[in-house]
Amino acid sequence: MATAIETVREVTGSEYKYGFTTPVEEERFPPGLDEDVIRRLSARKQEPAWLTEWRLAAYRRWRQMEMPDWQKVKFPPIDFQAISYFAAPKQKQRPKSLDEIDPEIRRTYDKLGIPIREQEILAGVAVDYVFDSVSVATTFKRKLEELGIIFCSISEAVREHPELVRKYLGSVVPPGDNFFAALNSAVFSDGSFVYVPKGVRCPMELSTYFRINAAGTGQFERTLIIADEGSYVSYLEGCTAPMRDEHQLHAAVVELIALDDAEIKYSTVQNWYPGDREGRGGVYNFVTKRGLCRGKRAKISWTQVETGSAITWKYPSCILQGDDSVGEFYSVAVTNHHQQADTGTKMIHIGKRTRSRIVSKGIAAGRSDNTYRGLVRILRSAEGARNHTQCDSLLIGEHCGAHTVPYIEVENRTARCEHEATTSKISEDQLFYCRQRGISEEDAVALIVNGFCREVMNELPMEFAVEAKKLLGISLEGSVG
């Protein structure tokens, strides 16, 4: 297991990595991808033969697939042979101190009130002290173990709990699901694994630990969360502070499985580097996230606040297979400058009396494009299914775009689907009202936007919500006036 200590060592730039004794010169594979690279990658991670074969099968599928072209986001072609598929998470050139970091980012840190030490970690500064969270992490770990909750890196889970991984890996997002999922299945580097046993209610948000854990997971992350019968877990991904990141392409896969009466709450706050004001640089966030309500009365809830990345392109989805299962999707996507977002959800109703609710708030400013794209599909078997979808878009400025592309496919007459969407701008009256009361224009915009997003923000865990609110204001800075 990548213990907290190891993770810290990765962050602090030590050569030590995942407990392997590895010669330093092999730290990074040369760019390029073929079957041999995958075999070497798998061997490096000491994976069992079935997983190597699984990766190779995914690679062969991927070779036959074509990059999709239906999306609303535009980017130059990606050269997949120019990427190194195994790189130690440490960065080659780390900034020596915070002074070398983009002052914009530093200003954001200050505004979010992030402690200086944490700032250094987030920015990837080569810090040489062990930070406080270690003890916190180990305390958490002991507590979780007592309850039988497994929470570790996926590499470790492959070694320690192969039966669970083998049973569930790819069961929600099969390797051939889509172009990027196939690529991820072939080359995934690491990620998180959570298993909550029957009847256990995870007593804490699985987040603080993850924040440390995440620092080294790289660009092809794989997350697998299994909630056994009657269990509950709340999982937080990402953090509000802008992460300095060396990879441009992120193609992660997240799979959630909820059995009978289980509930998974998955919250994301994503604030990766969006590129500069002119649209240069920035992260491509191409993620496949899907949850399967396999059991009866299972519930999966996605909440996302997306403010970062040059391109956000993802559709956290729910397959509502168990009778009476529930899927929820709450999203705020903010784009400014030249950012692009094409995000939304899919709700696939299979079980009887399954219910889903979608609330999406898109905010476009600057020269950005913000698209909601979603699918609600009611299969013939989904007797009495119910869906309500609400998509609202807010436009700030004349050069941005807001788009709504919902698909509703109904094959059962007892189902009821409702969809509503609106697009408008921040009203002059609201702004005037705030300005008249001495609130600066920027604060007024933040206030109005926060009100616009409140329905979604309310779904975030408390400590996340506070930071996310500040983040919204910061993301839209300079978009008015």
């Binding site: 400025g397 689907c417 509503e420 408008s424």
Partner: protein
């Protein structure tokens, strides 16, 4: 590479399309330049291919299965006038063009009493009198759609209609497209070009009817242009028998202050597909589109709308409904595009679907694409069956279940049917609806209309 094959967005058209073109194109009107135009269009059709469900705008519709098979041109066939008469709408004063299997039938048409300057003529005449204008109009519509190219490749029947500036036609104008019963698969490709001049006004009745079952492909293209301040009320009724595929592409543009109002009622057909591409090009224009479709067993109705707001200060409102029985299928894809600079746009869209059959399917995709901030745009979509409490209410008042259901369905459809502007079109649509409901319940309004007739 099975994976790749299934991802193809188009398939090659059946060779019979080309064989047919070789056989009949030399007999069609016009000289060498028109033959060349048809050949160019055919090559375009060949290059575009027949779209599969991988093509986003055909995602819900397997058109390959329906139309990509050996076809024949429809040979002229005598038809007793009595069979045509029920479809003549708009009263005795109406100006009328009747097309049978895509060809204009002058003896059933009526172009008398047109005001000075108004033109209603066959495309063959236009090709003689105003060849440049016709060629320009045909070439202006290159929408990358295979069936539009196919229509141009077989350009034959059709009409050119022009209402001059400031003229309001008192009587409605009916375009009646009929298909006779056929054993073999036939196709027809009429095209109508209609221009409503500045401050002119017109009520247009567009009627499609099949007189018998058969594998008919009616591939219609309509090009409408409304000048500044023009008004067009457009009532559309389609009644397609089993086996018919009716594809109608409507391309329209609205000048400043123009008002376009369209109501569509569709019953039946293997596939009835109404595609709209409407551009609001001037400010303060108004575009109201509504429709109701009633597909059942093995029938499919597609409604596609792409509504462009290119100029600001305009208003658009769409309300499309469907009543889908047993194995019927309705697909709706409506897109509102507000272009950069089209500020102060108001655009609304609503799509309500009533699922009555256990195997009914509804696919709906209401899209917004907005590039201007000072706008108000919204859309809503609903799918569901009849409201149980409304049914209970009627049952509690002594109505039998069939009548109660019929009454509710009638009310649902009537909201759209009532928007048909021409009374005879409305009465016709109501009769169609009541036939569909299969109930002896008759609305009071229909009885009144019957008496009036």
């Amino acid at each position: 590479m099975a994976v790749v094959a299934s991802r193809r967005r188009r398939v090659d058209p059946d060779p019979s399309f080309f064989a047919l073109h070789r056989a009949i194109a030399p007999q069609l009107w016009g000289g060498a330049e028109w033959a060349a135009l048809r050949t160019r269009a055919l090559e375009r059709f060949r290059a575009l291919g027949i779209p599969t469900r991988r093509d986003e705008s055909w995602k819900f519709t397997d058109v390959v299965r329906i139309v990509n098979r050996p076809m024949r041109p429809a040979e002229p066939r005598p038809l007793p006038f009595a069979e045509v008469r029920p479809y003549l709408l708009g009263g005795s004063e109406a100006v009328r063009l009747v097309f049978l299997d895509g060809r204009l039938v002058p003896e059933w048409s009526r172009t008398e009493g047109l005001p000075a300057g108004a033109i209603v003529e066959s495309l063959a005449d236009t090709a003689r009198t105003r060849p440049e204008a016709l060629a320009r109009a045909l070439e202006a519509l290159d929408d990358g759609r295979a069936f539009t190219a196919l229509n141009a490749a077989f350009l034959d029947g059709g009409a050119w209609i022009e209402i001059p500036e400031g003229v309001a036609l008192a009587a409605p104008l009916q375009l009646l497209f009929l298909s006779a019963a056929r054993e073999e698969a036939v196709m027809a490709h009429p095209r109508c070009i209609l221009r409503v001049g500045r401050n002119a006004a017109l009520t247009l009745l567009e009627t499609h009817a099949g007189l018998g079952e058969g594998a008919v492909l009616a591939n219609v293209v309509l090009q409408l242009a409304l000048g500044e301040g023009a008004r067009l009320d457009h009532d559309r009724i389609a009644r397609a028998p089993r086996g018919h595929a009716l594809l109608v592409k409507l391309d329209g543009s609205l000048g400043a202050g123009a008002r376009y109002r369209q109501t569509t009622v569709v019953v039946g057909g293997a596939l009835v597909r109404n595609e709209h591409e409407v551009r609001i090009e001037g400010p303060e224009a108004e575009c109201l589109l509504s429709g109701v479709a009633m597909p059942r067993a093995g029938e499919q109705v597609d409604t596609l709308v792409r509504l462009h707001h290119c100029a600001g200060g305009s208003h658009s409102d769409q309300h499309f409904k469907s009543i889908v029985e047993d194995r019927g299928h309705h697909a709706f894809a409506g897109k509102i595009i507000v272009h950069r600079g089209a500020l102060k746009t108001n655009a609304y869209q609503k799509n309500d679907n009533l699922l009555l059959g256990a195997d009914a399917e509804v696919d709906t995709k209401p899209e917004l694409e907005i590039y201007a901030d000072d706008v108000k745009c919204s859309h809503g979509a609903t799918c569901g069956e009849l409201d149980a409490s409304a049914l209970f209410y009627l049952r509690a008042r002594g109505l039998d279940p069939e009548t109660a259901r019929a009454l509710l369905v009638y009310a649902f459809a009537e909201e759209v049917i009532a928007r048909l502007t021409e009374p005879s079109a409305r009465a016709f649509a109501e009769r169609m609806l009541l036939e569909r409901l299969g109930s002896d319940f008759v609305s009071p309004e229909s009885e009144l209309l019957a008496e009036a007739r």
